[in-house]
């Protein structure tokens, strides 16, 4: 069973695979998708590299194995690994399905996700710029970019699992007193920061990024002297929070209360005062607007 399949069967396999990947419900790591698309767009893509890229992602891998084991293929023997799944589906088929999903920004199958990834991309981009611009102690631009991108990756997972989460999210965004996490935990058994951290750990992201994801709404961890949160994680959180504030200020969209709650702690971590912030608004506006 491979790419020699007739077109009608192929498209059925495509659909099946897409559905499986979506059904697994773990949004594939956007960085891995980036790597995937870069490789797939080459004139002569390296298929073994594509296979290893797919294989390095929990969500995509699970989706592939699930598909290969579906009754559609009627295989006697169960697929045991991504490589076996790829052997059954054909790498081209798998790649096409993954690429199709990327193009439609279909991860996962929940409403408003496009806006979510857009916002993440803007915040990531501006965070990277801020890290470079201020030469923030020990922060690397690519780390701040990665953190900005993944900071809220728990949100789409929860949107996919809990129908009421959209409402919870709106409430958390509007609550000027309780922490974002407290609002989530009043309605759910977990919160998006914890989900994001667990995912980030499974993607083997560095510890300071995982911890930053876990604590990015935690004012106590951010500002208390006795906090065990590494300084590097605090700087990541502060930079992305500032980036979000600037993006929201410019776009007037997706307004949250986070800057009201965390802003002054973030400025302290970044060693910025109000006057510098005003100057920054002007300079950063152009950068924020440039991300389309």
């Amino acid at each position: 069973m491979n790419d020699a399949m007739p077109d009608s069967t192929l498209s059925e396999v495509d659909n099946l695979l897409e559905r499986s990947i979506l059904d697994v419900g773990i949004p594939p790591c956007p960085l891995i998708l980036d790597r995937f698309i870069t490789e797939a767009r080459r004139d002569e893509p390296d298929f073994s590299r594509l296979a290893s890229i797919i294989g390095s992602d929990v969500g995509l891998s699970a989706g592939l194995i699930k598909t290969a084991n579906s009754p559609f293929f009627g295989m006697r023997q169960r697929v045991r690994s991504v490589n076996e799944a790829l052997a059954i589906l054909g790498l081209k088929t798998a790649s096409r399905a993954v690429a199709g999903l990327i193009l439609r920004k279909a991860f996962p199958n929940v409403p408003n996700l496009e806006r979510f990834w857009d916002a993440s991309a803007r915040i990531a981009h501006l965070s990277g710029w801020l890290a470079q611009h201020f030469d923030i102690r020990g922060l690397r631009a690519e780390d701040t970019y990665t953190f900005g991108l993944f900071r809220d990756c728990g949100i789409p997972v929860l949107l996919g699992r809990f129908p009421q989460y959209e409402k919870v999210l709106a409430e958390a965004n509007n609550d000027a007193v309780r922490s974002f996490i407290a609002v989530e935990e009043a309605a759910l058994p977990t919160n998006h920061a914890m989900v994001g951290c667990i995912l980030a750990q499974s993607w083997w992201l560095p510890e300071e990024i995982c911890l930053a994801i876990r604590n990015h709404h935690d004012l106590v961890a951010l500002e208390s002297l006795g906090s065990s949160l590494p300084m590097q994680s605090r700087r990541l959180i502060a930079t992305a929070q500032l980036a979000e504030h600037i993006v929201q200020r410019e776009s007037g969209l997706s307004l949250t209360q986070e800057w009201t709650k965390l802003g002054s702690a973030c400025l302290k971590i970044l060693e910025l005062d109000e006057a510098q912030l005003e100057a920054l608004y002007i300079e950063a506006a152009a950068i924020a607007a440039a991300v389309e």
Partner: protein, 429 residues
């Protein structure tokens, strides 16, 4: 007013002495420790990058120390690359633990320009002996530090141990530091994986598979017997535990998708369960993997039951509400407390391998196994024997009423793909 080092904002030498005096005056009933940390080969940093470069490293390190120690000790810079930590209410073992933390803090990479340094430190510990003044205490810590340096650096020496070279405690501390750094490397390079060992019911059905963590860095395997205790000491076990929660749940999901209704048993450490965040982490793993919760089992180490706090109780209750089941691991040797057993809502009791290896010859062991099995059954639990390698052991265990067997006799722990292969050969759907 304490005297402050202008470069780092830490106490300076004089401030350190003042603070040590204060501690000495107050330490009539509570021992405190002085830990002296000196960077190895710091001169080379100064020579290569000039003093401004060296100052940057010192400032960076001071900040890291402050973050890592977070109020547990007073920190002073004694000049150059030397730091002293004055730790209130601290005995030798706590001081050694803290020294290991300091060593790992020093060992984090430092970036200067395009170069990355991986510094190490020599560390000396002295515990205040109630009689001596603060100067004498600091001198002992300093001497212990030099003893560590004499051994080639990158090590910890406790005052009083200096004249005896190669003592086990010292070697161990060094080995532990190296294991800790290997674990960090594993976490950043994907060097961890889970292997799975089946648990077989008397009728041959597969009751569950236990997920066992494996660590490999640069092609070398680190044995779990070595890295798990270090992970527990350093607190890394929480991150490892959370990682295996998701991986284990994901594996259960893959098995579920492949049509196997086999539970995956995931080990949960005491450090995870005493954290109020455990429930959120468990739910996060269940949500991300989208597995049926009844296919996930949490294996709790028996030592947990020495002291079941309200947080632990709440976490266990929440785990049950989430739909996962609980089992008690290594039962019968360590801290077995029968009084606590009745309060733990576990469905499975795993007898420690120590009872198995002496069967069937040891009749007394057999009697204990039979009694524990009966106890487990009375409490509505499935009883599993671990570490079974021989047919005679299994016969004796089944005869004693044990419900299920785990051990090399049936299968060794195996990686995911081998597990699927193994399941297929048994045609166990």
């Amino acid at each position: 007013m304490n005297s402050i080092d202008p470069l780092t904002g830490l106490l300076d030498r004089f401030g350190c002495l003042q603070t040590a005096d204060r501690f000495t005056a107050a330490s009539t009933h509570q021992p405190f420790a002085a830990i002296w940390v000196d960077l190895d080969r710091f001169k080379r940093i100064n020579e290569s990058f000039g003093h401004p470069g060296g100052d940057e490293v010192i400032k960076d390190l001071a900040l890291r120390f402050r973050n890592r120690i977070s109020g547990r000790a007073e920190i002073a810079r004694m000049g150059g690359d030397e730091f002293v930590f004055l730790v209130p209410r601290c005995d030798r073992s706590a001081a050694e633990q803290l020294a290991r933390e300091l060593a790992s803090t020093v060992g984090e990479l430092i970036h200067i320009g395009n170069l990355t340094l991986c510094p190490t430190a020599s560390i000396g510990i002295a515990i205040h002996d109630m009689e001596e003044n603060s100067l004498a205490l600091l001198e002992r810590a300093d001497r212990a530090m030099y003893a560590a340096k004499d051994k080639g650096g990158d090590g910890i020496v406790c005052s009083g141990d200096e004249p005896i070279p190669g003592r086990l405690g010292i070697t161990l501390a060094r080995e532990e530091i190296s294991i800790e750094s290997t674990l960090h490397a594993a976490l950043e390079t994907g060097g961890l994986c889970l292997h799975y060992q089946p648990i077989i019911l008397a009728n041959g059905e597969i009751e569950a598979v236990e997920a066992l963590m494996r660590c490999q860095v640069d092609g070398e395997n680190l044995s779990p017997g070595k890295f798990i205790p270090v992970a527990e000491k350093t607190g890394l076990i929480v991150r490892l535990g959370e990682w295996s929660l998701l991986q284990g749940a994901m594996q259960a999901r893959l098995l579920q998708d492949a049509g196997y209704h086999t539970k995956v048993a995931i080990n949960v450490s005491r450090a995870q369960l005493v954290s109020p965040k455990f429930t959120q982490a468990l739910h996060a793993a269940l949500i991300c993997s989208n597995v049926k919760p009844e296919l996930v089992e949490l294996e709790l180490t028996e030592s947990l039951f020495m002291d079941i706090s309200d947080t632990v109780q709440a976490n266990l209750k929440n785990a049950l509400s989430a739909g996962v089941s609980l089992s008690i691991d290594d039962f019968g040797t360590g801290y077995s407390c029968l009084a606590n057993l009745k309060d733990i809502p576990a469905k499975k009791l795993k007898l420690d391998r120590a009872f198995v290896t002496v069967l069937p010859e040891d009749r007394r062991a057999l009697a204990v196994v039979r009694a524990m099995t009966q106890l487990g059954h009375e409490l509505g639990m499935t009883v599993v024997a671990e570490g079974c390698e021989r047919q005679e052991e299994i016969d004796a265990l089944l005869d004693a009423g044990v419900d299920a067997i785990q051990g090399f006799f049936y299968a060794r722990p195996m990686p995911e793909d081998k597990l699927f292969q193994w399941l297929q050969t048994r045609n166990t759907k």
